[in-house]
C-alpha cells in the first residue's frame, strides 16, 4: 500500500511538472500571431517587434499614415484621402476659403490642393496623389492593422488601433481562436453614444484596475507618469484571457486616439465644425472632387460630428500585416526597405521572437525539463526504496506460500503481478490526482488568467519538442505527449520494482523465513 502511495505521489509530481512545462512551452512557445509582418519606422527590428507584439520596450518612432495607406485597397485609400481633402475645405473655410476660391477659380483638385498646401499641408501635396489607385502593397496584403503607441494607462500600454485587431485577427497556437469578450463588445469605429471614444481592455488590465464595462478611462502621454489627456474613453468591452500580451494592454479607437491633444501632427485650427457649416462644405467639396457621400459607410458618423483627422496629421507606430500568402512575406522586408528609402522598415516578428527565445526562454525550458527528469528519477528511486522496505514483511508471506506448496514460479508471478498492479494502480491514482489538481477551479483559472493556456482534467501535457533534437529516439519521443510515455515507463518501473521482491521470493530460504 505504501508502495502504491509513493507511486501515486511520484506520478502526481511528474505529471504536474510535465503540465507546468507544457504550460510554459505553450505560453512562450511559437504561438501564431495571426500576422506575419510588422511595418514600422526605421530602427531596431527587435524594438519594433517588442513594441508591437509585446507592448514592451521604449516607444519607437512613427511612420506616416500615408505609408499605411500603401497597404490597403483602392477603395479605402481613396476614401481616406478624399476625407482629408474635404476636411481641408472645412478648415480653409475659417480663414481663406473665399480668397482661395477667387484666386484659383474652381478648376479642379490640383489648384485647390496647391493652395491648401501653403497653409495647412506640410510637404504633402494632394495633387501628386493618385486618388484612385490602391496602395502599392495592397494586393499582397490580406490584412493590415495600424497600431498607435505611446500612451499609457497606469503601467499598461495604450494601443490606438482599429476594431479589426479583435474582429479580424485570431490568436492561439494555430491562430484559430477568435478574440472573445467576458463582458461587453469590441469597440467600434464610430458609435452613436460614444463617438470615436470607445476602449477595450485586456483581462489583466481589467482585473488589476478593477474595471468594468461603462467605466471611463483616460490615458497619459509618453510614459506611465506622463501628463494626462483630457479626453476620456468609455470602456465597452473586456477581453477574455488570451495568454497573449493583449491581456496587458488597453485598446482605444485609433480615430479617438488621433483626436486627443498632442497626437495630431499639426492640430486643425478649429476642432469642431457646426452642422450647417460642415454640410455646406460637404456639398462644396463634392463639386471639386466628386467624393462618395460619407454616410454611405455604415461605420461613418453622420455629417456634423467631430471630424476625423486628415491623413497628413496622422501617424502610425506600426502596421501588423498578414500577407496574402506566406511566400510574399519572405520578400517583403527587402521590398519595403527599398521602397521606403529609410522611412520605414518591415520585420518578421516570428524571426525576432525566436531569436529572443533562443536566448531567454530556451534555457528556462531546458531547466524545467531537467527538473522533470530529476523528479521522474527521484520518484522512481523512492518507489524502489519503499518496495525494498516492504520486502521483509513479504519474505514471511512468501515462505508461508512456499510451505503450503506454492512453487517458486507461482510466488514470483504473484509478487510480480502484485507490484505491477500496485505501480500501475498507484500511477493511475497519481495521474488522476494531478489532473484533479489541474481541474481545481482555483488552479485552472489562475493558470489560464496568467498564461491564457486553458487547462482542465483532460488536458495532457504537450509533446516536448526540444527532445526532437536527440538522435534516433528524438523524433519518436519528441512527438508524443510525455504523459503517454509515462505508461510504458511506469510498467517498466513496476516490473523492475516487482523483480526485486520476486527474485527475493525465488531465493527465499523457506525454513528460515518461517521462523518455526
Amino acid at each position: 500500500m505504501l508502495t502504491a502511495l509513493s507511486m501515486a505521489l511520484g506520478v502526481m509530481l511528474v505529471v504536474l511538472v510535465l503540465a507546468i512545462h507544457g504550460v510554459v512551452a505553450e505560453s512562450f512557445g511559437t504561438w501564431n500571431l495571426g500576422y506575419n509582418l510588422i511595418v514600422g519606422a526605421k530602427g531596431g527590428s527587435l524594438q519594433l517587434t517588442l513594441n508591437s507584439v509585446y507592448y514592451l520596450s521604449r516607444p519607437v518612432e512613427n511612420i506616416s499614415y500615408e505609408y499605411y495607406l500603401e497597404f490597403v485597397g483602392a477603395e479605402e485609400r481613396s476614401r481616406a484621402l478624399q476625407h482629408s481633402i474635404r476636411s481641408h475645405i472645412h478648415d480653409a473655410q475659417w480663414d481663406t476659403i473665399e480668397a482661395t476660391m477667387s484666386a484659383f477659380p474652381g478648376d479642379g483638385l490640383g489648384s485647390l490642393a496647391g493652395a491648401l498646401a501653403t497653409d495647412t499641408l506640410r510637404a504633402q501635396d494632394y495633387s501628386e496623389l493618385d486618388l484612385d489607385r490602391g496602395g502599392k502593397f495592397g494586393q499582397f496584403t490580406a490584412l493590415a492593422i495600424p497600431l498607435c503607441l505611446g500612451d499609457y494607462y497606469g503601467q499598461f500600454r495604450v494601443v490606438g488601433t482599429t476594431p479589426d485587431l479583435f474582429g479580424k485577427l485570431t490568436y492561439g497556437p494555430s491562430a484559430d481562436r477568435p478574440y472573445e469578450f467576458t463582458a461587453g463588445r469590441n469597440f467600434k469605429h464610430w458609435d452613436e453614444e460614444h463617438s470615436y471614444f470607445e476602449a477595450v481592455v485586456g483581462s489583466t488590465v481589467a482585473r488589476e484596475k478593477k474595471l468594468s464595462v461603462g467605466d471611463e478611462i483616460a490615458s497619459t502621454h509618453g510614459d506611465p507618469e506622463g501628463e494626462g489627456h483630457g479626453q476620456k474613453f468609455t470602456l465597452v468591452g473586456i477581453l477574455k484571457p488570451t495568454g497573449t500580451p493583449n491581456d496587458r494592454a488597453v485598446f482605444i479607437n485609433m480615430e479617438g486616439f488621433y483626436l486627443m491633444e498632442d497626437h495630431a501632427l499639426d492640430p486643425p485650427k478649429e476642432d469642431e465644425a457646426s452642422a450647417e457649416d460642415a454640410s455646406g462644405f460637404a456639398g462644396m467639396a463634392g463639386g471639386f472632387v466628386e467624393p462618395e457621400p460619407e454616410d454611405e459607410h455604415d461605420d461613418e458618423p453622420p455629417t456634423g460630428e467631430k471630424e476625423r483627422l486628415p491623413v497628413e496629421q496622422r501617424q502610425v507606430t506600426a502596421i501588423l500585416l498578414r500577407t496574402v500568402n506566406p511566400m510574399v512575406a519572405v520578400g517583403m522586408p527587402r521590398t519595403i526597405a527599398r521602397d521606403a528609402q529609410g522611412r520605414a522598415q518591415c520585420v518578421m516578428p516570428i524571426r525576432e521572437i525566436n531569436g529572443l527565445f533562443v536566448i531567454f526562454v530556451s534555457p528556462i525550458q531546458r531547466a524545467l525539463l531537467g527538473i522533470t527528469a530529476l523528479v521522474c528519477l527521484v520518484s522512481g528511486i523512492s518507489i524502489l526504496v519503499s518496495i525494498y522496505n516492504s520486502m521483509s514483511d513479504r519474505k514471511h508471506e512468501i515462505a508461508v506460500m512456499r510451505a503450503l506448496g506454492a512453487s517458486r514460479g507461482t510466488v514470483m508471478t504473484v509478487i510480480l503481478l502484485e507490484s505491477v498492479l500496485l505501480s500501475v494502480g498507484g500511477g493511475a491514482l497519481g495521474w488522476i490526482g494531478a489532473h484533479s489538481v489541474m481541474a481545481l477551479p482555483a488552479v485552472s483559472h489562475a493558470v489560464e488568467g496568467r498564461t491564457g493556456v486553458p487547462i482542465g482534467f483532460l488536458s495532457f501535457a504537450p509533446p516536448i519538442e526540444t527532445l526532437i533534437e536527440y538522435p534516433i529516439i528524438g523524433p519518436i519521443i519528441g512527438n508524443i505527449p510525455p504523459e503517454l510515455m509515462l505508461i510504458p515507463a511506469l510498467i517498466a518501473l513496476a516490473v523492475a520494482v516487482g523483480f526485486l521482491p520476486a527474485m527475493a521470493a525465488y531465493r527465499t530460504d523457506v525454513a528460515k523465513s518461517l521462523g518455526s
Binding site: L404, S407, A511
Partner: protein, 224 residues
C-alpha cells in the same frame, strides 16, 4: 509410509562452525499412524519436521514417502510434493494476514491443484467451529481461533501426512483438548498419518506411540 534412513542435518553457524542437529539412523511412520514426538527445546524437532516437509534439505540420508525419495527431489519437485502430500500446522500458525480465514484455508488448495473448492474449505472451517468467522482476517481472530484456521488449512488438501509443530502451545487447556481431538478425528477420518510435536504430557499421554527425539537422534546422545 514415511521412512527416514541415516538422515543427517547440520546448520552452518555465522562464525563458520558447523552445528550438527540431526543424525537419525532410522525412523518410520506407517499408514494412518498417529504419533507424538517429544524432546527438549532446541533438540531439533522443528528441524526434523522441516526436513520431512522438504522445507529444508538434509545433508545426507533418505526420506521416503510412499516409496518416493524426497531427498533427491529438485526444489520444484519438493514444492509439488508438499502441496500434494503434506499438511503442516506451524508452531506460530503462519496465517497470511492479508487474507480472511476462508481464503487462508483455500490458499493451500490453490497451490496444490491450481483451483480450490469453496465447499471443502467451508466444511473444514465448519469442522473447526469457525464457519461464522470465515470472512475475518487473522488479526480479528483469537489465538485459539487462528490455530484452528491453521489446522483447517493444513488439512485442506487431504494430505497423506500431517506435521503439527506444537499446535496447542498457545492455547488454554480446554481449547488444547478440542484442537487435539479435532486433529486426531480428522486424521483418522481421512487416513492421514500424524506426527505431532508437543511438550504437554496430557497430550502425549493420549497417544499410543510417543517417541523421544533424543532417543532416535544420535546427535542428542553425543553432544549433550
Amino acid at each position: 509410509m514415511l521412512q527416514l534412513e541415516n538422515l543427517k542435518k547440520s546448520y552452518r553457524e555465522p562464525d563458520g562452525g558447523i552445528l550438527p542437529v540431526l543424525d537419525v539412523p532410522n525412523f518410520a511412520v506407517v499408514e494412518g499412524e498417529q504419533m507424538v514426538l517429544l524432546g527438549r527445546s532446541g533438540c531439533g524437532k522443528t528441524t526434523l519436521l522441516h526436513v520431512i516437509a522438504g522445507l529444508s534439505r538434509a545433508d545426507t540420508g533418505l526420506i521416503k514417502l510412499d516409496g518416493y525419495d524426497i531427498s533427491g527431489l529438485s526444489e520444484a519437485g519438493r514444492d509439488r510434493y508438499r502441496a500434494a502430500k503434506l499438511g503442516y500446522v506451524f508452531q506460530t500458525f503462519n496465517l497470511l494476514a492479508g487474507f480472511s480465514a476462508l481464503e487462508n484455508v483455500q490458499l493451500g488448495m490453490t497451490f496444490a491443484r491450481g483451483k480450490y473448492q469453496v465447499a471443502r474449505a467451508k466444511e473444514l472451517l465448519d469442522r473447526v467451529g469457525l464457519s461464522d468467522r470465515a470472512h475475518h482476517k487473522p488479526n480479528a481472530l483469537s489465538v485459539g481461533q487462528q490455530q484452528r484456521v491453521a489446522v483447517a488449512r493444513a488439512l485442506a488438501n487431504q494430505p497423506r501426512l500431517l506435521l503439527a509443530d506444537e499446535p496447542t502451545a498457545n492455547v488454554d487447556p480446554a481449547n488444547q483438548q478440542n484442537t487435539i481431538d479435532l486433529i486426531r478425528q480428522t486424521c483418522s477420518d481421512e487416513k492421514i498419518a500424524l506426527i505431532l510435536v508437543t511438550h504437554a504430557t496430557e497430550v502425549s499421554d493420549q497417544f499410543d506411540r510417543v517417541d523421544r527425539l533424543e532417543e532416535i537422534n544420535q546427535v542428542g546422545v553425543t553432544s549433550h
